[in-house]
Symmetry: C2
Amino acid sequence: MADDRLSRVFAALADPTRRDIVARLSITDATVGELAEPYDVSVQAVSKHLRVLTDAGLVSRSRDAQRRPCRLEPEVFDLMTKWIERYRVQAEERFRRLDAVLAEMDDEQRATDDRRGAAS
Amino acid sequence: MADDRLSRVFAALADPTRRDIVARLSITDATVGELAEPYDVSVQAVSKHLRVLTDAGLVSRSRDAQRRPCRLEPEVFDLMTKWIERYRVQAEERFRRLDAVLAEMDDEQRATDDRRGAAS
DNA sequence: CCCGTGTTCAACCAATCGGTTGACAACAGG
DNA sequence: CCTGTTGTCAACCGATTGGTTGAACACGGG
């Protein structure tokens, strides 16, 4: 997988378990054990998911004795939102312009027809 | 990979080439050959990328003789934006509330905190 | 009707992913 | 100093990914 920031963020959220982890962390911080509990996978698997999320900058870890609490870092969301909005807006803008162009072509077609009709 | 819609969309955009294709399609529709031209990969590889994008609902194909023009479908972006915004807002909301809670806890004892027994 | 253009299908390959198990590190408390 | 708890590291496994090449399919224009 590409190692640029945006790719890592999108890839991280492409997994339902990781999206669920993000959803739960948006409610409250949690340890790896707490996060793993509801899922039917090993703690190690969840630890791996957390690694992907932290590498993407979506989650930060701190230290409390043996525990490594996880906290959601919502700033990274902006990166995605900016990318998405940019191209969504651009595409919609283009569709709006397309209507105008089509309307214009209609007019010219009509004008040409008129001229032709007048000429002959 | 999980086959739910959101997973497919995020996974599709996790690849820089595919994001670039989306960016270019936001400017104008294009055929597979046109899209493949600037990249240093085979047309077949680009065709595969297009398949991923259409499966995710980000791109639609039409037919024009041998050509299969690609068009960006920006509606799917809403799905992502909704998901992202939901948890970003929720997390930020929580951080705002956290300040209040911390101030409140200054007055009280924090000794009997939220260890599992008392939770929920 | 064939030929060239544009695109996809099929098989294959190396790399990565999500999961496993087993060992080990870090720390709190008896 | 051991013991239990919490989490990560390492090695491995099967499935998937992004890429390749070669063949086939779908057309329109001589």
